[in-house]
Symmetry: C2
Subunit: 462 residues, 2 copies
């Protein structure tokens, strides 16, 4: 376990108080098959289970009776065959003791617990689960269809309230993830500068670093000279001199805390003048967020500040035109920035996204937009001390989107399509760091900064 | 696609002929969530779908009407949002054409196809699926519970018949996987010899190699100085001088063909005399399989030959006693070798294991055993030209198993428990290569042999 027993006890007490009554079930993950059941992907514990119960073994369910305060760790013991194949592990009882839970039960007892609660007319709270094996298990327990389970809004809200604010000890673990991210990105930048390798080669090397120093990557590494594809997975193509390599990748520590950084650096080691024109805008947008994000400010407004600066600079370059405020209000800049400035980050790289993005990134005061671009902003609500959010502006030239907007005349008042044509095969640039909101402002996570100002990058990769 | 269109057309014709009648559904895989739905594990296509339809995209189902010969590729087209986030991909129609399928339908049409077939009293054939999202999808289509689906034995048998025999072009792809495996294992051996790193560090480096040159590892790498744990995942411990590092790892090509090798090499670069005593037995057992495996021989008998040699040599060392034949018949050697000599290998590292191991490794003539050790032999049936099987003998000293057998007096007539105590913390050794059954014998896959004879290893890592 990452933290002291008392941390987990306290978190469960807070959760119980926030939910108030009913039976709370927190499902741990099981092994997930890759191509056949006995060949699983690398195990990843459910983040909320880990947050409240701290244990990494598969096949566990944490139960908290919010009325009585009874706590149970549900799971089956291993046998001699398991020991021969996978080695000895702690008993369920030992794991329960370690995390301060008094009681254990085998998995077969879970159905009785749930039906007793239901017979007493008590609410059974569970979170949305990503894994389909858990969907089936829950469906059988509560008598719903696995694809239309009714998760508990009260439990979602309580978990989001607690997990949103990172404690000092959690921040220390996020810094450890960031240190792995530093190794990954500086390695990728140098490989890009050298050239002569495939995107897949570079991705493999940085995935290896993530696996060597932690649980692995926090998401599938995006390593591509087609930066205009927002989630462009690495191809087996050689990287081409003169292109920019976009690398968006993060690490997860063995205890499942994440990092998430993006750098866009030149194959061959030098940015061209045209690349600098766009690159420097993204750098300035990225740095702007660092100036304005602080407690009490909505991240939606930080996003819009960035959009205004970007629009102003794209007007100066001749790619956009008209009034900055009107262009941003119309969403014209979204041709270049079709995603949001950032998302919450923590144990999940998009923290708690599985609980429903709208519950994590928005609240009663700040509602999501349906406008193209702004609608993809994952985090809009007011910042609090202890929040960790990504700061990841980008400028992309997406041929299919340019063609569609031009054909439809979308935002034609604000876009110089003829000039944009000259950049059509430019690709895309994104720069991303992870912002910790402090008492009076914010700072980037990471003791060593991965270079991103153009001159810094060029000097670093020489 | 890896092969010519004609290959896939021919495979589907053979499948149709073997199944004879009814509606055949071959489900491709979907993205599998790691910690939340939008954060999937690296995509892995279903091997049987890939074998017959050749396409790597998620969200596809291949349909073959065995009666009429009608073939349909079922899947939904992508939209502009998909292009912005993931890039342009081939249309379903283009993928169908590429693999020689005349017709396409959207996913919503699948339910109608199935209910029409059922209304006509025709059988709907589907394979066992590993993924729980597919279990739910199939459950809804055929009206069964997702955890008790009735797969088609006829379809299983037909697929096993076809996939068991590897063609020359498949063997060429397996050789490519083996070449990646060579890089992985020789790197791990050298890192072990140097020492000063963690198991997790070494695993990360070789996982990185697998990702750099192929789709990734063919299973989670086993990298451990506790070789006695058969599937011992890497720990964050530094590897200890004087121990043996067992590394069981494989690569998968981008087209999903596998390799699977194990080497057990000394931390520090030299085997101790006690390690050599055991190591050389495993080497000779490993080499024996190469001498006796050939078409017409049951792999069960190769396994038993290896067990006899191992027992003879363990008697000579004083760890076992009594008559070799009786000891093997009683399963006494299984204290040291609690698993089988090998398994089929191909597009799945345990090839087709998801279809049911008994259907892949056994037949009417050769039935599985329930004896401890022999019961874990995944492949027993008669070998044919074109089969690829692993040859992976091992000797392990598993403290929990030794204690259990000693306490129960299990096979006490054949085991010198006092002598065994002296080896209790020895660990374990396994050596594994992949055997291709040829017309008149067999050969190891891999153009370059990963060193395994003790002197070769010591010379190699210097």
């Amino acid at each position: 376990m990452l933290f002291q027993k008392s941390t987990y006890i306290e978190r469960r007490q807070q959760l119980r108080a926030l939910v108030g009554k009913g039976l709370i079930l927190l499902f741990g993950n099981n092994d997930a098959p890759s191509n056949y059941p006995a060949n699983p992907y690398k195990f990843r514990q459910d983040s909320s289970f880990l947050y409240f119960f701290g244990q990494h073994r598969d096949g566990l369910v944490g139960v908290i009776d919010a009325d009585s305060g009874r706590e149970i760790l549900v799971g089956n013991e291993i046998d001699i065959d398991d020991i021969v194949w996978y080695g000895a592990v702690n008993s369920v009882k030992a794991m329960a003791e370690e995390t301060g839970v008094a009681e254990t039960l085998p998995m077969a007892a879970l159905a009785d617990l749930v039906s007793q609660a239901k017979a007493q007319g008590r609410e059974v709270h569970f979170l949305p689960v990503a894994r389909h094996d858990l969907k089936i298990q829950i469906a059988d327990l509560v008598g719903q269809h696995p694809l239309s389970l009714q998760a508990s809004q009260q439990l979602i809200d309580a978990v989001v309230t607690l997990r949103s604010v990172k404690t000092a000890e959690e921040i220390a673990e996020l810094e450890r993830a960031s240190a792995i991210g530093y190794k990954m990105h500086t390695t990728a930048m140098r490989l890009a500068a050298q050239g002569g390798v495939t995107e897949q080669y570079i991705a493999g090397v940085i995935d290896g670093i993530a696996n060597s120093y932690g649980r692995g990557t926090s998401f599938q590494s995006i390593v591509t000279t087609h930066g205009e594809v927002l989630h462009g997975y690495p191809s087996a193509r050689l990287i081409e001199q003169g292109k920019l390599l976009l690398c968006d990748a993060g690490a997860e520590t063995n205890e499942c805390y994440c990092s998430d950084h993006t750098r866009t650096t030149p194959v061959g080691g030098r940015y061209t003048p045209q690349q600098r024109d766009i690159y420097d805008i993204v750098v300035d947008c990225h740095d702007l967020a660092l100036q304005v994000a602080r407690p009490g400010v909505r991240y939606l407004d930080v996003h819009l500040d960035v959009c205004r600066l970007m629009t102003e600079r794209l007007i100066a370059l001749g790619l956009m035109k008209g009034n900055v405020e009107d262009a941003v209000q119309a969403g014209a800049h979204a041709l270049f920035l079709p995603h949001g400035l950032g998302h919450m980050m923590g144990m999940d790289v998009h923290d708690m996204e599985g609980l429903g993005q709208v519950h994590v990134g928005y609240d009663a005061k700040t509602r999501p937009s349906s406008q193209f671009g702004l609608g993809a902003l994952r985090m809009g609500r007011e910042l609090q001390e202890g929040f960790v959010v990504t700061d990841e502006p980008g400028i992309y030239f997406i041929p299919a989107l340019i063609d569609q907007w031009r054909a439809n005349g979308t935002n034609a008042d604000f876009l110089n399509f003829d000039k944009i044509e000259q950049f059509k095969h430019f690709g895309g640039i994104r720069i991303e760091d992870d912002l910790l909101i402090t008492a009076d402002g914010c700072r980037f996570l990471g003791e060593e900064r991965i270079p991103y100002h153009a001159e810094e990058v060029e000097a670093f990769v020489q």
